[in-house]
């Protein structure tokens, strides 16, 4: 083992002293030849014969050198370096072509990187700050006589949440706009109506205050509370550390600010940044069409589930949700 290390070190060192070692080898072999010739001369050979005999008994000089070099350094690295040098020489010989080629490669790689990071942002990891989003799926419903998919209703959500065993999280949310008035300024702001487990299920922890508590999404206009985004907190409330507990009018109804979402959390709509979240119990304030939490026919909310694992995804999912479907429709 120690010998192996020594050999490796020796070979590595040889990489950096190649010229010197090459001269060394030349000198050594030359001295060998001279001594051999001298000996042969003393044996009474002619100068020509002495030389020929010395070469003969030595064997191939260049061959020997080649074997010697392989043994001395690290041939793989040396040939790689040689190839690199050769490549650079070729590139330098036709600079126009080289620049064109390099330009093409740069553009190609750049474009690829751009597209990939875009795709990653949109498709693979669309929701910053959400844990395990690779297992997050959107759940849609279908209705008889209608093509395409629809959203789901609140009673559906409750039933599915109760009866599906494949998900470790099941949330719903609905994007909506509202008028936010602070002092004498009013502006349109985008927010979400969500189920009470929203923040817990996504693994998003408010940096101030709390998320919604179980039960805050039931009832009719019973829980006027809101969690605001980090951006809104910074921009419209100047990062007020005493923000929790203050009132904010949303669509004219006073809401208590109970939490501030962490920086980088924008909600769960691709391409949109949410600025506040309210529990589903406040639905009527923000949605047209009245109170819908008890109406199974009102398909107004989008569902997301996080699978426990990816295995047998489609089959199991479908079976599990299908199995609970008859129960739902029997009750409706």
């Amino acid at each position: 083992m120690r010998e192996l290390c020594r050999t490796l070190l020796y070979r590595l060192a040889a990489l950096f002293r190649r010229r010197h070692l090459e001269d060394d080898l030349d000198a050594e072999l030359r001295s060998h030849m001279e001594m051999a010739i001298e000996l042969n001369l003393r044996k009474g050979m002619s100068a020509e014969d002495a030389r020929r005999e010395a070469l003969r008994s030595f064997g191939g000089v260049e061959q020997t050198k080649e074997i010697y070099r392989d043994q001395r350094g690290l041939p793989m690295i040396e040939t790689t370096l040689q190839d690199l040098r050769f490549g650079l020489r070729i590139l330098r010989r036709s600079p126009g072509f080289s620049i064109l080629a390099i330009l093409c490669l740069t553009l190609g790689i750049g474009a690829n990187a751009a597209v990939f990071s875009w795709i990653e942002g949109i498709l693979f990891r669309p929701y910053p700050a959400v844990t395990h989003q690779e297992r997050l799926l959107a759940l849609t419903g279908t209705a008889r006589g209608e093509s395409g998919s629809t959203s789901i209703s609140w009673p559906d959500f409750l039933d599915l949440q109760r009866s599906c065993t494949l998900f470790d999280a099941f949330i719903v949310n609905k994007i909506m706009g509202t008028t936010l008035s602070i002092g004498d300024r009013a502006e349109r702001t985008i927010g979400s109506i969500v189920s009470a487990n929203y923040f817990d299920a996504l693994g998003v922890h408010p940096i101030l205050g709390r998320g919604f508590e179980p039960g805050e999404d039931s009832g009719r206009n019973t829980h006027p509370v809101t969690v605001i985004s980090y951006q809104l907190w910074k921009a419209r409330f100047n990062g007020d550390p005493q923000i929790i507990g203050k009132m904010q009018r949303l669509n004219g109804v006073p809401h208590t600010i109970i939490g501030v979402a962490p920086e980088g959390f924008y909600g769960t709509f691709v391409g949109w940044g949410m600025h506040f979240w309210v529990p589903a119990s406040m639905e009527e304030i923000f949605e047209a069409g009245g109170y819908k939490l008890e109406d199974r026919g009102a398909r107004w909310i989008e569902a997301y589930v996080r699978l426990k694992c990816w295995s047998l995804l489609s089959i199991w999912c479908r079976r599990d949700t299908m199995r609970s479907a008859p129960r739902i429709f029997k009750t409706s």
Binding site: E3, T7, R11, S31, H32, M35, A36, Q71
Partner: protein, 97 residues
């Protein structure tokens, strides 16, 4: 092993000397190309069994002298021993009727 043994009995020696010596003591039975000696010397040196130094030969020629190191002497002892054991075994097998 031959190289180590040669250096052990002759003291520091240059490549040509080692080649000559090996040829002589083997009564020219080992007809190796002298050139093959040099990669072998390098390999042994890398393992730390011999050391090399430039010097001047008896007739004033510059030559690289190889000498046995402490580790080399130990290695020679081991190799001789294992060779003895090996040849003893082979001998015994051959003589058994």
């Amino acid at each position: 092993m031959l190289v180590l043994k040669t250096l052990d009995s002759m003291g520091p020696m240059h490549g040509f000397g080692i080649a000559l010596r090996i040829q002589q003591v083997s009564d020219d039975l080992l007809q190796l190309n002298q050139g093959t000696l040099y990669p072998a010397l390098l390999r042994i040196e890398q393992r730390g069994w011999i050391a090399s130094k430039w010097g001047v030969s008896e007739n004033n020629r510059k030559a690289k002298y190889y000498s046995l190191t402490h580790a080399g002497r130990k290695q020679l002892g081991q190799e001789v021993e294992s060779w003895d054991r090996m040849s003893a075994v082979i001998n015994r097998v051959l003589r058994t009727t």
